[in-house]
Amino acid sequence: MLSNFDFEVISRSWVYLFQTGMVFTLKLTALSMLGGILLGTLLAMMRLSSIKAVSLFASGYVNLIRSVPLVLVIFWFYFLVPYIAAWVIGADEPVKVGAFSSALITFIMFEAAYYCEIMRSGIQSIPRGQVWAGQALGMNYFQTMSNIVLPQAFRNMIPVLLTQTIVLFQDVSLVYVLSIPDFVGAASKIAQRDGRLIEMYVFVAVVYFIMCFALSVLVKHLQKRVAIIR
């Protein structure tokens, strides 16, 4: 059976797969992770706010996004983002948003809901006494948050944030439904053009495994370095 396999197809399309596909996937993952964590942290703070309107908005947003499959959100945003952008900047016609930008906005807004819950649990795990100590020194809400609570919450949640990022890295492959060439999309194109489905998909799986595993090891080291001595 294995004698029929043509692994040449991989070496022939190496450049396209990695320079186009993987670069796209990595760019989208990295930017979505950064944007998602930032927006997610903001949402977490809003959810924990004592102002009812603010906390209701944040929890409504999170619950809505978490109830909908990602593939659906990708479709919605692809069609809706041009109209929303036009409304935001006050243009007459739907703004032409490129595939990458649309995907980026989608993933940031989607992942933010998940990162929000992670950061919220991180923030709530910081003992009240820490907040009191900050306040007793005269710090206001923002100073207490940025100097005392968030630095500790973030470091405590690094393993969970990483898990979510690995999920994000794999979820990015769903842009396949918009025919955007991420790594899986690129591999799939080659597979269909050359008729080598098994080789390509096995290769994709191996690459994903290696990268996710490497990421886990990397973050384990990172965690050791930023761990708070307790």
Partner: protein, 241 residues
């Protein structure tokens, strides 16, 4: 300096403080004692507004704590507080713990803040630990750093919420010695504690609380001599070994 008038506080339906009134003049050392759940920690936290209260008035150096127009952060920067669980910031070094309040709240320069912080760190005998992290210090050392951190803000008064209750017995004295030193220098102090030895040494007045009410509020001599209420007498009998 600090005045509480008819302070009452509820957690929902449950009343934790009932009509508490007392005063702390400049240079006074007032010890607040009482059984568990008597509301002493809650009372001291209302003084700098960490806990809100629903009825009554609290004034610190002329500033009304309960007034919504008061800038609480500004007031809190002038009052030092030391907590039962030390509450040092574990992600910052000892030096950073001492300077963060000074730079972020008081706007001092990093050099000024370092100088002052290290001066008080030396005062509590821990200058060598400046680059360590709180997790590397013992409880007694952490609490002394916490006192230095509060003092670095040049407060007009210091509040202590059971500062030695979470310490192993052999470390209690090192912290009490620092507090005695402070009292002898004339710092205005309100101390919630069970350490009656400390009270006997430096307190001017003792406030005894039970079930959210102030039962006794008298001079040290009166309290240890002829206490008026049975409850206070029982309490003293139980805790003086």
């Amino acid at each position: 300096m600090i005045e509480l008038k008819n302070v009452s506080k509820w957690y929902g339906q449950f009343q934790v403080l009932t009509d508490c009134s007392t005063q702390v003049a400049k240079g006074d050392v007032v010890v607040i004692c009482g059984p568990s759940g008597s509301g002493k920690s809650t009372l001291i936290k209302t003084v700098n507004g960490l806990e809100p209260f629903q009825k009554g008035e609290i004034t610190v150096d002329g500033v009304a704590v309960g007034d919504p127009k008061t800038n609480l952060s500004k007031l809190r920067a002038r009052i030092g507080m030391v907590f039962q669980n030390f509450e040092l910031f574990p992600h910052l070094s000892i030096r950073e713990n001492l300077t963060i309040g000074q730079t972020k709240v008081l706007g001092r320069s990093q050099d000024e803040a370092n100088a002052k912080g290290l001066k008080y760190l030396e005062r509590v005998g821990l200058l060598a630990q400046q680059d360590k992290f709180p997790g590397q210090l013992s409880g007694g050392q952490q609490q002394r750093v916490a006192i230095a951190r509060a003092l670095s803000m040049d407060p007009i008064a210091m509040l202590f919420d059971e500062p030695t209750s979470a310490l192993d017995p052999e470390m209690i004295n090192e912290v009490l010695d620092v507090m005695v030193g402070l009292a002898q220098e004339g710092m205005t102090m309100m101390v919630v504690t069970h350490e009656m030895g400390f009270a006997k040494r430096v307190a001017n007045r003792i406030v005894f609380m039970d079930q959210g009410k102030i039962i006794e509020d008298c001079s040290k001599e009166d309290f240890f001599g002829t206490t008026r209420s049975d409850r206070a007498r029982d309490f003293l009998a139980k805790i003086i070994h």
